[in-house]
């Protein structure tokens, strides 16, 4: 969207003044039975015997539970993938019967039967309550808020078939942030799902906000104050901050998956198809359950799309370290690696093979020398051979695939002498210069092509789903995908350079 007019901003403040939040209790005995069994098993597993096995079982059960808790579709809807999950759990249950004993097996059995029962039930308590609430309003703009974009398709499909379900706006927090104000919004899922989006409750975008809450789950609105010693303008209408507790409640936070960064980093590492240099990388969790590693070296850059901007300004190249949640990252759809390198090779044609071979040759020789003698020794010897910029940081950069050659020819000549390629120094320098020029041209070309493809594109799909594919006209480098970054790992990791840019599935690794 473009920037808001002052009248549109005024409407948001107006809603912030008058909005009312209300809890809506939803109940389901079979789902509660299943949830309680999972929690009991989890309690037993922590620190007990065969902990690793039981935690694996709990992880699978929680993986099955969270979509049931936040998707307003029938319990037996195909999107829940019960068949696959039940098969995996059945295999684990056989192992449990063979290897374990006592309370754990009994609780696992209860949970397994509970899920099996849900997989056959056509009940849709969340969806039914959403439609009841919508029916109670005469007119107005009505919407439903889901915590993650992957739930939109099944919900849309189910609601389309119900009376009054077709006109509902189905939103995610990112889409809601850009949306016009609504009359009614039904928020699905525990408030913990929306901890990163406090505006859902603190600056509501709808005059009436209903928050669905399972009857046995304890939940509360997050604190609205972000700043120490702050003052806030009073809202004219508000709701209860905590719902009336109906039964012995359990915590809502347990229903929300947590990102298992260790497992995701491990999977990203496994994406490398060949041996390469170890580089520093940031691992990002992307929309719709993908993950990717991007370079985290000082000079690493990435391209992002800014959907709120228009025209050429939409495409920006930023420092990779500046990537944060909510950015839209541009990646190759398949194959990973550097888009620039792929496009440069395409432009260079057959000569690319020889040029890349020369690139690999001098890099491999340098890496081998560093492994053999150690970086300190290599830096000292390079200086003696006339390298003006030899230091540990530069030596590290020179070994990576991103640096085609050194900036200063004297550095390059020193390296070539050091690794025994002194006679080829001139030819390799020229080859690397050709590659450098091709990379530069490719970079400019990508920017132009992207501008042509994305500058005026309707990015509504991107904002609502977090993922959108683009095709670069006339180029054989595959499609490009723009993915919303949902989370960035708190610390950088060392990974194989060939893992960079490779998207991997990680939706099953949300659960810690």
């Amino acid at each position: 969207m473009t920037a808001r007019t002052l009248a549109q901003v005024d409407a948001i403040y107006d809603v912030a003044v008058r909005s009312s939040l209300r809890w809506e209790i939803v109940d389901s005995e079979p789902f509660e039975t299943f949830d309680v069994a999972v929690r009991s098993l989890q309690h037993l597993a922590n620190g007990g015997p065969e902990e690793a096995f039981w935690l694996e079982v709990v992880r699978k059960l929680r993986d099955a539970r969270w979509p049931l808790s936040v998707t307003p579709v029938p319990f037996n809807h195909p999107s829940h993938q019960h068949g696959k999950r039940m098969d995996e759990l059945a295999a684990l249950f056989s192992r449990a019967q063979d290897q374990c004993s006592g309370e754990g097996v009994r609780l696992f059995h209860d949970a397994y039967l509970g899920l099996q029962q849900l997989a056959c039930l056509n009940d849709n308590p969340l969806g039914d309550r959403v439609l009841e609430l919508m029916d109670s309003a005469d007119v107005g703009v009505r919407g439903i808020l889901l915590p993650v974009s992957r739930l939109i398709s099944p919900v849309k499909e189910v609601l389309r078939g119900r009376p009054n379900g077709g006109g509902l706006k189905i939103l995610t927090p990112a889409k809601l942030a850009d949306s016009e104000t609504l009359d009614i919004l039904v928020v699905v899922g525990s408030t913990y799902w929306y901890r990163k989006y406090p505006f859902v409750f603190s600056a509501p975008r709808a005059l009436q906000v209903y928050v669905l809450k399972w009857a046995w789950i304890n939940d509360a609105f997050p604190l609205f104050e972000l700043l120490i010693s702050s003052r806030s303008g009073a809202r004219r209408a508000s709701g209860e901050t905590t719902p009336r507790i109906q039964r012995n409640s359990v915590g809502a936070e347990d229903l929300v998956p947590r990102v298992d960064w260790t497992a995701i980093e491990s999977r990203v590492r496994s994406a490398a198809t060949e041996v390469g240099e170890s580089v520093s990388a940031s691992v990002c969790l992307l929309a719709q359950g993908w993950a990717v590693a991007i370079g985290a070296e000082n000079d690493s850059t990435v391209r992002i799309i800014e959907p709120s901007l228009a025209g050429d300004q939409r495409i920006q190249e930023i420092h990779a370290g500046d990537i944060e949640d909510g950015d839209y990252l541009l990646l190759r759809s398949h194959g990973g690696g550097e888009l620039v390198a792929a496009l440069a090779d395409e432009e260079l044609g057959e000569s690319a093979v020889d040029l890349r071979s020369k690139q690999r040759a001098w890099k491999s020789a340098l890496r081998a020398e560093v492994r053999r003698s150690g970086p300190d020794s290599v830096v000292r010897r390079l200086k003696k051979l006339g390298s003006p910029r030899a230091n540990l940081m530069n030596l590290r950069n020179w070994q990576t695939a991103r640096f085609l050659r050194t900036q200063d020819r004297a550095d390059f000549n020193a390296i070539m002498k050091l690794v025994g390629m002194g006679e080829e120094a001139h030819a390799v320098w020229d080859a690397m210069s050709t590659l450098t020029n091709a990379h530069r041209k490719a970079g400019h070309k990508i920017t132009k092509l992207l501008q042509a493809a994305a500058a005026d594109a309707d990015l509504a799909t991107l904002v609502s789903t977090g993922l959108m594919e683009f095709h670069l006209e006339g180029q054989d480098v595959g499609n490009l995908t723009i993915c919303r970054v949902d989370a960035v790992a708190p610390t950088a990791v060392e990974i194989n350079e060939h893992s960079l840019g490779q998207r991997v599935r990680a939706e099953d690794l949300w659960l810690a």
Binding site: A3, V17, A177, L227, S229, S230, G233, E324
Partner: protein
């Protein structure tokens, strides 16, 4: 076109509100008065309507940021808002308005004294027929019984005398064009895109031409350039004329943003906009030391907060933006470590519904 009313705040309600007035009373100064920007109307559909309460609150915050300047201290104001729209530019507008009024009252003598205290070779900017040129200070002097200063235009290496009465044409700092045209340019009124009525009524000043006649860098806005550009240059505003009818304009006419000027080098400016994505600060901009820096968004703040060691900060945090949580944590840490007393300098400004605000004085130099 008819004069209408804002949806949430009917015209006139704010006059009974507490912001501005209480501070005004406490500090016994005019700078927190309701302010002339309350004359501004904005377009809502086919009507022009009065600025709503929340908008006037942000203008008042901007005024306070200028008025609260103290040597060695900065006023930090953090605003958590439902949406970032217009909050930052309105804060900057309030600063420009306050500065413009303090200009009118500040003595020419004071400015002349500042100029004469410069050393030979110090950079100055001289305004001639609406355009700025780089020069350097040469010496104070007296010519034909008239006090003044000599400046040297860098390219020409010739000295020119500027009498004391015209010393407001000279500002400190190296801005403007390097070279003066060979012939003295004539002001071309056909290219003037702003309305004097709009500027004078909108800012409550007597003379728009005097207002545009010199640089007075008051506020730097750091945020998303495209959104700020829309709010400054495209969003339509108006003022009601005594003789009837409306005069339309844009906030940019009042705020004179360097980046959006037709002649970025030669025109005078009061504000500047910088992208929150910028990797490095423009040294020329940093050297100008704006009294107020408005960080329009969490990213702008976390990335550029220490670029201006003397400036007051106004930090706008959009509750729907991902960067808000981290920026709020940084602000809270800064509050704990750098606050110099327990007073909330803006305590008399009642925040509008949906807005969370904290303000404190902090040690300026880090």
């Amino acid at each position: 076109m008819v004069l209408g009313r804002a949806t949430s705040t009917p015209l006139g309600n704010w006059q009974e509100g507490s912001w501005g007035r209480s501070l005004d009373a406490e500090r016994n100064t005019d700078s927190f008065d309701s302010g002339p920007t309350s004359n501004l109307l904005f377009r809502a559909g086919s009507q022009f309507v009065a600025l709503p309460e929340w908008a006037r609150f942000f203008v008042a915050v901007g005024r306070a940021a200028v008025a609260a300047r103290e040597s060695g201290r900065r006023l930090v104001t953090a605003l958590v808002v439902p949406t970032r729209g217009f909050a930052g530019v309105l804060v900057a507008l309030g600063s420009v308005e306050a500065q413009a009024h303090s200009d009118l009252h500040s003595a020419t003598d004071e400015h002349f004294a500042r100029l004469t205290s410069l050393s030979r070779g110090d950079s100055v900017t001289v305004l001639e027929v609406g355009k700025k040129y780089r020069a350097s200070f040469d010496r104070p002097s007296r010519v034909n019984s008239i006090d003044g200063i000599f400046v040297v235009y860098e390219q020409e290496q010739m000295t020119y005398f500027i009498p004391r009465a015209q010393c407001r044409r000279v500002s400190i700092g190296s801005l403007g064009r390097d070279k003066r045209p060979r012939r003295t340019p004539k002001r071309d009124r056909r290219v003037q895109r702003w309305s004097a009525d709009f500027v004078e009524i909108g800012l409550g000043i007597d003379s728009a031409s005097e207002f545009v006649a010199r640089d007075d860098f008051t506020a730097l806005l750091i945020g998303r350039v495209n959104e700020l550009q829309y709010e400054l240059e495209e969003a339509e505003f108006a003022v009601q004329l005594d003789r009837g009818g409306f005069e339309r304009g844009h906030l940019e006419d009042l705020m004179r943003t360097k980046r959006f000027a037709d002649d970025k080098v030669g025109e005078t400016f009061r504000t500047e906009v910088m992208s929150d994505r910028a990797r490095e600060l423009d040294p020329a901009l940093t050297a100008l030391e704006p009294p107020v820096v408005v960080f329009d968004g969490g990213r702008a703040f976390t990335k550029h907060k220490f670029g201006w060691p003397e400036a007051s900060w106004a930090v706008v945090l959009d509750q729907s933006a991902d960067s808000t949580g981290e920026a709020a944590e940084v602000l809270n840490q800064y509050y704990v470590e750098h606050r110099v007393d327990d007073d909330d300098p803006l305590r008399a400004l009642k925040p509008p519904p949906g807005v969370e605000v904290t303000s404190f004085l902090a040690r300026a130099t880090l």
